[in-house]
């Protein structure tokens, strides 16, 4: 069996599982946020159970519209706060919270070999630590909070092999945009994606989180990485419980194996309005921007901020361009402060925010007006995603976003860092 099958078999009490099979999988962590939890809470109450299956295996995070942008979203956060108090569930509130998918791995809530479900499509992010993690809906989460298990169809797995060495300014974001550009937004529909190869071995944990995060943008159910020394090092100081590391068998079966030579891959930009519209930044042409956003569950980690700071240490944001930088969690914020990055950003003319999803889904903190364009390190550039249905979002890595904020148009980092 491959990695996904091994984990799912172990969580459904079976020796072997095969793609297409329906199972009831035991869950190690159940997540929801300020948009999806209110429905999950209502559905949970409809089930009529008196307690959650295990209060240590449930986390709720208020991250999308907080610090609350309006009265209605404040009501939603209040509902979560009250539910968590009533059932003894861990709630991450303002001042402690971060964007859920940056926060949970950082706090050691998701570990190798775990099955994690979350009422958020980017729950797949945790595949970076070798967990089987997948997004579901609020009703699924309500049921899992009550029973500790959930129905699933075992997915087929597509194996991706990235050969060669990564170029300068090329990281996890570029590999995943390139991949989605190649296979399309439904290229891995219903499938698990397994990321392997020398280029993956070179990639940092932060880079792997970025890649796993966007598996859903190819329609994937999960995006998995094997546990190596980097994973162990990341997990060691964070894990609060035991975990099991699963390996793919030598005779494992895959639906497909796709290989890429990464040596020729340049920093990528996904043009509006699909993550699959990826091209090399050099081929984008002259695209003026109004705003640059650096943050989100895709690229709001410390390494992402370091990358942006390399550029802002030497250059300022071009007058007339809004640059918004959002550390993913309080810890990322503290690390960035300690390293002097926040000062670099503010001096360069960027606005730095407390952790929040904010503009990523057009919530607050940088919503776009009609006709405006934004380069963003987030994961979706659908119509209206960051505001007006007549605005445009271009997806890129933090170095490209920072370089573009400096020149006011989409720019290769080399151009400003010669």
């Amino acid at each position: 069996m491959n990695l996904a099958e091994k984990i799912l078999a172990a969580h459904s009490g079976k020796k072997i599982v095969t793609p297409g099979e329906f199972i009831n999988a035991r869950v190690d962590m159940v997540l929801s946020n300020d948009i999806t939890a209110p429905i999950a809470i209502n559905e949970f109450r409809r089930l009529g159970v008196s307690k959650v299956f295990d209060k240590n295996k449930i986390v709720m995070v208020a991250d999308h519209f907080v610090p609350n942008k309006d009265i209605l979203s404040a009501e939603q956060a209040k509902q979560m706060r009250e539910f968590c108090k009533e059932y003894g569930v861990k709630f991450y509130d303002v001042g402690e919270m971060g964007i859920e998918h940056v926060l949970l791995p950082e706090q050691g809530f998701v570990l190798p070999g775990d099955v994690v479900i979350g009422a958020d499509s980017h729950t797949c992010t945790y595949g970076a630590v070798g967990a089987f993690a997948t997004g579901m809906g609020s009703t699924d989460v309500a049921v899992a909070m009550a029973t500790g298990d959930i129905w699933m169809k075992v997915p087929p797995t597509i194996k991706f092999v990235y050969r060669g060495e990564l170029g300068k300014w090329v990281g996890g974001k570029d590999l995943i945009l390139y991949t989605i550009g190649n296979i399309g937004v439904d290229g891995a529909l219903y499938a698990a994606m397994e990321f392997t190869g020398e280029a993956i071995d070179q990639l940092s944990m932060d880079g792997r989180f970025t890649m796993a995060n966007m598996a859903i943008e190819a329609g994937g159910k999960a995006g998995l990485f094997h546990v190596d020394n980097k994973t162990q090092l990341y997990i060691k100081s964070r894990a609060k419980k035991n975990y099991l590391v699963y390996e793919t068998d030598s005779d494992a079966e895959y639906e497909k194996v796709i290989e890429y030579d990464v040596t020729t891959i340049e920093p990528q930009v996904s043009m509006p309005h699909s993550p699959a519209n990826a091209k090399a930044v050099g081929k984008v042409g002259s695209v003026k921007i109004d705003q640059a956003v650096i943050g989100s569950c895709t690229n709001g980690r410390i390494e992402d901020l370091r990358l942006a700071a390399q550029i802002f240490r030497r250059h300022k944001v071009k007058p007339g361009i809004r640059c918004i930088i959002i550390p993913g969690t309080q810890q990322v914020y503290l690390d960035a402060l300690a390293e002097g990055l926040i000062e670099i950003f503010v001096k360069a003319g960027a606005a730095v925010s407390t952790p929040t999803c904010g503009p990523c889904l057009g919530g607050h903190m940088g919503v776009l007006a009609e006709g405006e364009r934004c380069i963003s390190t987030t994961n979706r550039n659908f119509v209206g995603r960051m505001g007006s249905a007549k605005s445009e979002v271009y997806l890129a890595n933090p170095a490209v976003a920072a370089a573009s904020a400096v020149t006011g148009k989409i720019t290769h980092p080399d151009e400003v860092m010669k």
Partner: protein, 167 residues
């Protein structure tokens, strides 16, 4: 159960951000969500939609975010069924869980125009295009999912399961 209505037709990769934009997700009441259903992709949808109407689309319908608000908004707007070449995974399970019928049938989509009248027999999986007289049959659901659907959604299904476990 028989469903009857006129068709709204869309293309590939209709995502949950256009089905119900995030700017309206500070509420979760289905009737409130329905007031903004499809507005970023089709400004005429809300003016024209009538109870029983049907959405048709090509591949990967409902891709993007996990928001259950998307099938809830569609259902509350009066739509009785969505027929597509294929559905995104999370949207598919959300719709099954909340009781919005979905059918996968590429042929029916390819042979239907916007505004055509359809009659659907969910139990049989047949889709009859009354406007052009053609009939199509959709892929049947796997037994496991039929169980959830016939129970009336995942909450009702789980309630039964919990009651059985207690007994």
């Amino acid at each position: 159960m028989k469903l009857k209505g006129k068709v709204f037709k869309y293309g590939a990769d209709v995502n949950t951000d256009v089905i119900i934009p995030a700017r309206y997700l500070n509420v979760s009441a289905p009737a409130e969500l329905a007031k903004h259903c499809m507005e970023d992709i089709d400004t005429t949808f809300l003016k024209k939609v009538k109870p029983g109407d049907i959405i048709m689309a090509t591949t990967n319908f409902g891709c993007g975010s996990s928001r259950e608000h998307a099938p809830l908004a569609i259902k509350a707007s009066g739509i009785s069924c969505v027929i597509a070449h294929s559905f995104a995974r999370i949207f598919f399970r959300n719709a099954i869980n909340i009781g919005l019928p979905l059918l996968e049938c590429a042929e029916s989509v390819n042979n239907t125009k916007a505004g055509d009248a359809l009659e659907i027999d969910l139990a049989k999986g047949t889709i009859k295009n009354i406007t052009n007289g053609k009939t199509f049959t959709a892929e049947p659901y796997p037994d496991f999912m039929s169980g959830i659907i016939s129970a009336g959604g995942l909450i009702a299904y789980t309630k039964k399961r919990l009651a059985l476990a207690k007994a």
